[in-house]
């Protein structure tokens, strides 16, 4: 190619007519849709719930056998459970735990996912090997892998987060790799390579920016499924220890009394479903806004 | 063999896509008729409304966006303008067959050729699969597909483009329709195959006694195959008449432009082919003047003020051009026009 690097630079620094960022504009437009606003407000409500739990509600752990399975009262808005604990206080603290897991898993699956995905997309041989391992990881049902990891490691919040993050990584790797591969096909990347742009610069200037939007969307979905997974694990008794209140744990506790006290299950179940629902809807909105080809939810 | 029986009559067909600000007028009072056994060619650039007109007649346009009005659309003695979708479904594939530009994508990739032809017979004749297969076999033979019995079990991807277009033709004609609408049937094919397909259509029209509406942008195809031609521009028919008449005496600025952009047969053309400057306008409402005027070399001030009404030039030839006399004077020495005289 006859174009030199300096010419390219010259062109790049030429005055460009004022142009607004299309991604930003798409996001702004999505932000004005009623469903986006409703879901964002609900999500903010959950954040407030988590942050203000100690102020709003009483002690979620205080056991009071004399006040078992009581109906709602001023002391306990949503009544008490089989150990006389304040259901409202436990539910508020459950939001804290669910959000912590959701956000942590989103970050902990995104960072290694992006790193491995870029490697797999940039390096032909290494990529092929990595993808074999990823395929194999995806052959193990995610929840099962998380259950096994959670059961085998020391119980605790960190373990739970790690156990849920690990099965999420392969999806992120696949997504990032496919983005890298398609970006590498683009003519402008070809041009950059042909004028001698090095590997690192190629990644930081051209590839990384293109992965941001899909990774954010995928991380949102990962957060939603992590919240479900943590509830499943707690429900099955391999989640956090009893001194960390969780919605899944509350539902597991409520099982025995379910036929007579269904509300014990309804409160955590409804909160859990609502949080996951708004997260998923926001993920869909983001996906529609950020990707013109309507990136399909990659299971 | 030509009789005066009219197979298809269309009067004052107008079509608008969408409403309000984004509205697009695709057709403005289009009238045409197709007589039994004849090939009528609709000619024009892409976007001029020739395909849309046929899709509108068949009720193939999405109702939500396509707003159609017409004083009369008639197939034989049947009224199509007021027909229900149900009634139109009985017409499509049965009394009117249709083939499309791209045989590569117009056949369903997951069904066999035999299935796709057979289901038309079953839909309209209510026969058994066995009989439908027989009929499909007969049609494949008729469109000269070699080894038709084996081809019935083939999938479209196993056939060449020309073969696929033959299959499309077999599918369109299997119920022996009165009318075949061929929408750019040869555009996507190799030049040698183009001629074969046109010859096949011409021959089948005689054998089956049907009429053909041939949609094309290629005047060469018109010259070779059609009996009559209707030239369309921006949703209006600007000139129509028997092929000989139109080629001998082109009488619209747009027809003249089309002719000049055609390489003349058997001659090494001098200089470069001429193109018509500009492109077909996309109009929210039909133009209140000659829509071609902005691109026309002959246009006078009247052309930019008024819509020209059809003027009869005799022997069924009419034009919507104020300047048709000067158009003809200019083109009298054109090699194609001379060749037709």
């Amino acid at each position: 190619m006859a174009v030199s690097d300096s010419q390219i630079r010259l062109n790049a620094s030429a005055p460009v007519p004022e142009r607004r960022n299309p991604t930003l504009e798409a996001l702004m437009e999505a932000a004005r849709e009623p469903w986006t606003i409703i879901c964002s407000l609900i999500l903010l409500g959950f954040l407030a719930m988590a942050a203000l739990a100690p102020l709003l509600a009483g002690d979620p752990l205080a056991i009071n056998p004399a006040l078992r399975l009581r109906p709602p009262s001023f002391e306990a808005f949503w009544g008490t459970d089989h150990l006389g604990r304040d259901v409202f206080a436990r539910a508020m603290n459950g939001a804290r735990m669910s959000l912590t897991v959701g956000v942590s898993v989103a970050i902990l699956s995104a960072i290694p996912g992006v790193a491995i995905g870029i490697f797999a997309g940039m390096n032909r041989l290494g990529g092929a090997l990595v993808m074999r391992v990823i395929d194999a990881m995806m052959a193990i049902p995610a929840v099962l892998l998380a259950i096994a990891l959670a059961a085998l490691l020391q119980p605790g919040l960190t373990t739970l987060i790690i156990a849920i993050s690990i099965p999420e990584i392969p999806r992120m790797v696949r997504l990032v790799r496919s983005v890298v591969l398609s970006v590498r096909e683009q003519p402008y990347v070809d041009a950059a390579v042909s004028v001698g742009t090095g590997g690192l610069k190629l990644v930081t200037k051209h590839i990384l920016p293109n992965t941001i939007a899909p990774v954010i969307v995928q991380a949102t979905y990962a957060a939603a499924s992590a919240i479900i997974a943590s509830a499943v694990l707690s429900f099955l008794g391999v989640g956090t220890p009893p001194d960390i209140p969780s919605w899944g744990g509350m539902m597991a506790d409520a099982r025995k009394f379910f036929q007579f006290y269904p509300m014990l299950m309804v409160y955590p179940g409804a909160l859990l479903s609502l949080l996951v629902l708004v997260t998923n809807v926001l993920g869909d909105r983001l996906s529609d806004a950020l990707d013109p080809r309507k990136m399909a939810r990659s299971i | 063999m030509r009789t005066s029986d009219t197979v298809l009559t269309v009067s004052n067909l107008s079509l608008t896509f969408g409403r309000g600000k984004t509205a697009l007028q695709a057709l403005d009072n289009v009238s045409l008729s197709v007589k039994q056994g004849e090939i009528l060619s609709l000619v024009g650039e892409s976007g001029c409304g020739k395909s849309a007109a046929m899709m509108a007649i068949l009720g193939l346009l999405p109702k939500r966006v396509a707003h159609i009005s017409a004083s009369d659309i008639r197939l034989g003695d049947m009224d199509l303008a007021g027909a229900s979708q149900r009634a139109l479904r009985k017409i499509r594939g049965n009394r009117i067959g249709m083939i499309f530009q791209d045989p590569m994508t117009s056949l369903n990739p997951v069904h066999t050729v035999g299935f796709q032809i057979g289901e038309v017979v079953r839909r309209h004749r209510g026969v058994s699969w066995k009989q439908a297969r027989q009929q499909a076999l007969r049609m494949l033979d008729l469109v000269r597909i070699p080894d038709p019995a084996r081809r019935l079990a083939s999938y479209p991807h196993e056939l060449s483009g020309g073969m696929r277009q033959r299959v499309m033709i077999a599918m369109a004609l299997v119920c022996e329709p009165e009318l075949l609408i061929a929408d750019e049937p040869t555009t996507a094919l190799d030049v040698t195959v183009q001629a074969q397909i046109m010859a096949l259509i011409d021959e089948l029209r005689t054998d089956l006694g049907m009429s053909v509406v041939l949609i094309t942008h290629d005047l060469g195809v018109v010259a070779a195959a059609a009996d009559r031609v209707a030239v369309m521009y921006a949703g209006r028919i600007v000139e129509d008449g028997p092929v000989e008449a139109v080629f001998r005496r082109p009488s619209h600025g747009y027809t003249a432009g089309l002719m000049r952009s055609l390489p003349s047969d058997g001659q090494v053309h001098q200089g470069r082919l001429q193109e018509i400057p500009g492109s077909v306008p996309r109009l929210a409402r039909a133009a209140d003047h000659c829509a071609f005027a902005p691109r026309c070399a002959f246009a006078g001030s009247r052309c930019r003020r008024e819509v020209p009404q059809p003027s009869d030039l005799g022997s069924g030839h009419s034009t919507r051009c104020f300047e048709h006399a000067s158009v003809f004077a200019e083109l009298a020495e054109n090699s194609i026009v001379r060749a037709w005289r």
């Binding site: 074999r132 194999a136 052959a139 099962l144 | 499509r92 990739p109 997951v110 839909r123």
Partner: protein, 313 residues
Amino acid sequence: MIRYAAARILAGIPTLLLVSVFIFSLAHITPGDPAILLAGDNATPSQVAEIRTRLHLDLPLVQQFGLWLGDALRLDLGKSIYSGKPVTQLIAQRVEPTLVLSFVTLVLTVLVAVPLGAVSAWKANSIIDRISMGIAVAGFSIPVFVIAYLLVYFFAVKLRLFPVQGYKWLADGWMATLNSVTLPAIALAFVFSALIARVTRASVLEALGENYIRTAHAKGLGAPRILFVHALRSVGVPVITVIGIGFATLIGGVVVTESVFNIPGIGRLTVDAVTRRDYPVIQGVILFFSVALIFINLLVDLSYAYIDPRIRG
């Protein structure tokens, strides 16, 4: 066709090998001595030593893996710490409820989700479309055990149409079996359908814009035939693919659902093994489910050739 099948099967082998490496190494990523872990919580030091020798834990890891894999290939997955029974036998005893539940769920899902997705695409942006896609988003947002308890509360506790929990074996009559798996299958299908309905809708919507759909209209075919015979059939590949991928989610759901409905299947076995930290059983069931998943995806790959003639070639 045979070559295609052989290629697919061969491609599954390295995956299976890697899966077994993961499952094998699960025992070694845990903190502490795997022998102590495998011996269970109440083992004496001599029992631990015995296990260490019996399971070759004193050998190098690679050699251990070789021996473990050799045993696994002979369907010997060790013995349960809790009951002392062979893991293979435990799994075999519990296959039926899981298979029945998965099969009923799959049938239910395909019967509901595929037509729903196709009709939503046909009537894109209509009320029907909006409602069914709204339900679909809810479907993969509401955890399966929440749906399960809702169903139990209304259909078992209040209306008494179905049993609250339990499983009736096929040997005792298939009607009773079907009755006992109806609620769990509906709960599972709700989640599974959400995914498949969405993918079906997106694929059909794309297919409806294809030229061959215009041809089908021009042939005078009716809406149901165009939608189901022409559009849906041609999107078989993406839909089947997502059914295959969705099985991973479904297996997770089976584990939870069996636990909720107290169905003595492999999911229930998994949960029991996890709470008892019965390590050989955990390894065994994960291996079982992974092999099942690989097998299902092999079937999916093979079905492509049936659905799409272009792949056969």
